[in-house]
């Protein structure tokens, strides 16, 4: 691993170099909520000054850039009784992520396990993932962040370079030669011993700020034991089955596919749409039977996929602890509370 350090103003120069030929996505402020707190979102940026590197979190993850809500998997041109199929992975150019927090980088690493490194990779994801340049940035833990419990508070790989704010300068960790070459264009220095101390001090300060926790000890086993627990029913009574938790989740990748014919009958398309296991349509099969007609069983299976099934398959959870689902849930269903209630739940 290579470390460098550079003056803050140099970051703008780096942005200009990257943005000159590439599409850059970064956190920007898109409005204020009713308490006048800023609301952030990842959007395409062309002006360095619009990027808010001190953002708390975004409502939606950057997921739509590699797993769009709707994506045409193939399109068809129909002429007489013939048709021609076109497949487009919808990755026309590299994408630069300017300022992803460790949780969101870890989310990509988790998605990689399923969509990139599996026996059947998903080419639509791979094409986008392989064409990314990621600049990670350290964050200030928020009251709803439980990434530390999920082991996602730091990112070890899955990015090109990672910057840490050391006051007047950025400490940068370089992971790829692409990043190394880009950084040659700005003024950087070899960090000295005192910079290492500053870095460690800043990391220790950040660690003190984590407040939300999830006890993951033996969680996969406990979930197995508590499958019939009444607490699921209690959370199900609150759940609106609106799918928001999955939509704001950086790792939810379940989807449905729809085939539609355009009204002119000259073209057709096969479209993928991100779905949510909390929706009543999700477990409905051909013929109309629904395997999980009840809200509580759908909610439960979402937790089982994240904290049990994925753990069994990959020895890690599919949750990064970003806390977005709990923050967006109108019913106030939050992962730390749900897990705590299962651990301490009454048995039937």
């Amino acid at each position: 691993m290579i470390f460098r350090i550079f003056e803050k103003k140099e970051l703008k120069n780096l942005f200009e170099i990257l943005a000159a030929h590439n599409k850059v996505v970064g956190p920007v402020e898109i409005g204020k909520d009713k308490q006048c707190n800023p609301i952030y979102a990842f959007t395409e940026v062309s002006d360095f000054n619009s990027i808010k590197l001190d953002y708390t979190t975004t409502k939606l993850p950057a997921k739509r850039y590699f797993l769009p809500f709707h994506e045409d998997l193939s399109t068809f041109r129909i002429k007489d009784n013939n048709w021609q199929k076109t497949i487009d992975y919808n990755a026309d150019r590299p994408l630069i992520f300017f300022g992803l927090h460790p949780c969101d980088i870890n989310a990509l690493n988790k998605l990689d396990k399923v969509l990139l490194h599996s026996v059947f990779p998903m080419p639509y994801y791979v094409a986008k993932r392989k064409n990314m340049f990621i600049i990670g940035i350290d964050c200030v833990p928020q009251p709803f962040c439980f990434c530390r419990s999920m082991g996602s508070d730091t990112a070890l790989h899955g990015f090109d370079m990672f910057i840490t704010n050391l006051g007047t300068r950025y400490f940068v960790e370089i992971l790829t030669d692409t990043a190394y070459n880009f950084l040659k264009n700005i003024k950087t220095e070899e960090p000295k011993e005192k910079d290492h101390i500053l870095y460690m001090k800043s990391a220790a300060e950040r660690n003190k700020k984590f407040t939300a926790k999830v006890d993951t000890t033996d969680l996969a086993k406990i979930l197995d034991m508590e499958f019939q627990s009444d607490v699921w029913k209690q959370w199900g009574d609150k759940c609106l089955a609106c799918g928001t938790c999955a939509n704001v989740c950086p790792t939810c990748y379940c989807y449905g596919v729809e085939e539609t014919v355009d009204i002119n009958l000259k073209s057709a398309r096969k479209t993928k749409m991100l779905h949510s296991c909390n929706l009543i349509d999700f477990a409905e099969v051909a013929g109309g039977h629904n395997f999980r007609p009840e809200r509580h069983s759908r909610l439960k299976y979402r937790y089982y996929h994240k904290h049990r099934g994925f753990v069994e398959a990959f020895e890690e959870s599919l949750c990064v602890g970003c806390g977005r689902c709990g923050e967006s849930c109108l019913a106030g269903i939050k992962v730390p509370e749900v897990i705590a209630s299962v651990r301490g739940g009454k048995k039937r």
Binding site: L240, C242, V261, I263, I280
Partner: protein, 267 residues
């Protein structure tokens, strides 16, 4: 009667049956029908799929020889009920078009009052008028298909009609508007302090109102498995008054079957 082969379209070389369709309206603003003719970009393609034989808002000719009847509006008089029964007899498929036809729509607001005579006096004064409590189409005749919305979403109607013609299944979302609203990357209206029925209202409108910073009023009726009871509690906790919540839930009649709405006014 079979549609003329020469006029019908083909799909993958196979000629498509071109059904005869008719449009009718009862108590309504006729805005749903207007939505259909509004869609100029695809209107010709749409019209080539079906043969319109009756459409008062769009053409002079009239015929009772039709297979699919699209019926807009609610039933507020006895003569309307009789006319609807005749349409039902003529049509193989009867489609309820829009919120008024599906649930009574805005018109059914008067049903909240116990005394219809009091309502009549408030609205029309001494002017004599024949009006009964509002009924949705399905309270009078069998309805085969419901197209929700106030107004209907023209893209959805086109898709439904296309699927009828192609013999594909018609899948109307069972999930709520939030799903589409999130895909459209809107800021949640509750974050902005606005009330919204998106979490319990059936999707399919592409979150039309929230896209324009207006909270959902539930015009498409409840999503399947809508948690109306808890939604009411959430809205109350967020500081919205009972009046604000009921006004929304009551507005289009889609939520009328929920126990949370059984309370009637003092008149």
């Amino acid at each position: 009667m079979k549609a003329k082969e020469s006029e019908s379209k083909t799909y993958l070389g196979i000629p498509l049956y071109r059904p005869k369709v008719a449009f009718f309206e009862f108590s309504s603003c006729e805005g749903c029908q207007l939505q259909i003719i509004n869609n100029e970009n695809t209107l010709l393609d749409f019209l080539s799929l079906v043969e319109v034989v009756n459409f008062r808002e769009a053409m002079t000719e009239k015929s009772d020889d039709y297979e699919i009847a699209f019926v807009e509006g609610s039933i507020t008089r006895n003569d309307e009920a009789e006319r609807l029964k005749k349409i039902r007899k003529n049509a193989k498929i009867l489609v309820a078009l829009g919120s008024c036809a599906c649930f009574g729509g805005v018109n059914q607001l008067k049903n909240r009052f116990n005394n219809i005579e009091w309502v009549k006096k408030q609205v029309y004064g001494k002017h004599p008028i024949d009006t009964a409590p509002v009924r949705a189409l399905e309270e009078v005749v069998n309805v085969d298909l419901r197209i929700y919305g106030c107004p209907i979403k023209k893209e959805e109607v086109e898709k439904i009609v296309l699927h009828v013609v192609l013999g594909k299944s018609i899948d109307i979302p069972k999930y709520p508007v939030c799903m589409e609203c999130k895909a459209n990357e809107n800021i949640c209206l509750f974050d902005l302090g606005e009330p919204c029925l998106g979490p319990i209202t059936r999707a399919g409108c592409d979150s039309w109102c929230p896209n324009n910073n207006a909270g959902c009023w539930g015009c498409r009726g409840p999503a399947e498995d809508a948690n109306v009871g808890y939604m009411k509690k959430i809205m109350k906790e967020k500081g919205f008054s009972e009046k604000t919540i009921l006004e929304r839930l009551d507005c289009f009649g889609g939520f009328a079957q929920f126990p949370e709405l059984k309370k009637k006014g003092k008149h």
